[in-house]
């Protein structure tokens, strides 16, 4: 099959990143990261299906410092992808294409995803009694 050499766009060596483009590529990046998050989530469910010992192993791993670090990354990726996904839906219905609005919705989305991540972790630590 013939492979046509087409020019690449954007030309990353001379392209100046802005908030809009960084948030856009972050949507993809968090989407790919969430594939790994889905695998971890699947391990949790399948572990439970295998029985108490397997589930305890998964819970112990998730409770370790490395497990918590992974969960922090996946939780932020999840809320980022969700909030920016809502931003995408608003664009789909034709809202928010003016440049000032685009920047404002970007900052709001970023704030919401960080706030939701913190909220989830604070609630999680409260559930464990602070440990």
């Amino acid at each position: 099959m013939s492979e046509v050499e087409r020019p690449l766009s954007p030309h990353l060596q001379i392209y100046r990143p802005q908030l809009t483009s960084l948030l856009s590529i972050m949507h993809r990046a968090t989407g790919v990261v969430l594939t790994l998050g889905a695998l971890l989530w699947a391990w949790w469910l399948v572990g439970a299906a295998y029985g108490p010992e397997a589930f305890a192993t998964v819970q112990a791993f998730l409770g370790s410092w490395f497990g918590r670090l992974l969960l922090l990354g996946f939780t932020f990726s999840l809320f980022y992808h969700l909030c920016n996904g809502v931003r995408h839906m608003l664009w789909d219905i034709g809202w928010g294409f003016d440049l000032p609005v685009l920047y404002r919705s970007g900052w709001i989305m970023l704030f919401c995803s960080i706030a939701l991540t913190l909220l989830a972790f604070i609630a999680g630590y409260a559930m464990r009694g602070g440990s």
Binding site: S2, E3, V4, A49, F55, Q59, L62, G85, M89
Partner: protein, 126 residues
């Protein structure tokens, strides 16, 4: 009338006319996942310290089991569509693109089915 030859269309040099469907189902699954994710995230936080019995009891009610199954279906459908676009955009040469696209579908079916089976086993077998 198109000036394109049937051969040029068959060699994947143009639209396969499936783009609209891909776009639409990606949005549909996204819309479904917004409330499902908020619900499941809250539930997961409440289960951070759960042992096996607590977790099984939680997932065994029909309502929760069905919602988790819906979450699994929407997630892995959405994941398949999203990864597909990433692969099509970045993975070269062509034979690796096609291989990755096939692996993507198998991966999503495998992990999605495993998750769904786990939910069913816990909910029904408990």
């Amino acid at each position: 009338m198109s000036t394109r030859t049937p051969l040029s269309i068959a060699q994947a040099l143009g639209s396969a006319r499936h783009g609209g469907d891909h776009w639409w189902v990606q949005r549909l699954t996204a819309v479904a996942l917004v409330p499902l994710t908020f619900w499941l995230a809250a539930a997961t936080v409440s289960l951070v310290d759960a042992d096996h019995a607590t977790f099984t009891a939680w997932i065994s009610t029909p309502g929760r089991a069905v919602l988790v199954l819906l979450f699994i279906f929407a997630t892995f459908y959405h994941l398949k569509l999203g990864l597909q676009v990433v692969i099509e955009d970045y993975v070269r040469p062509r034979w690796i693109t096609v291989t990755a696209l096939i692996v993507n579908v198998f991966f999503c079916f495998l992990v999605g089915t495993a998750c769904a089976f786990a939910v069913l086993k816990l909910a029904i077998g408990a």
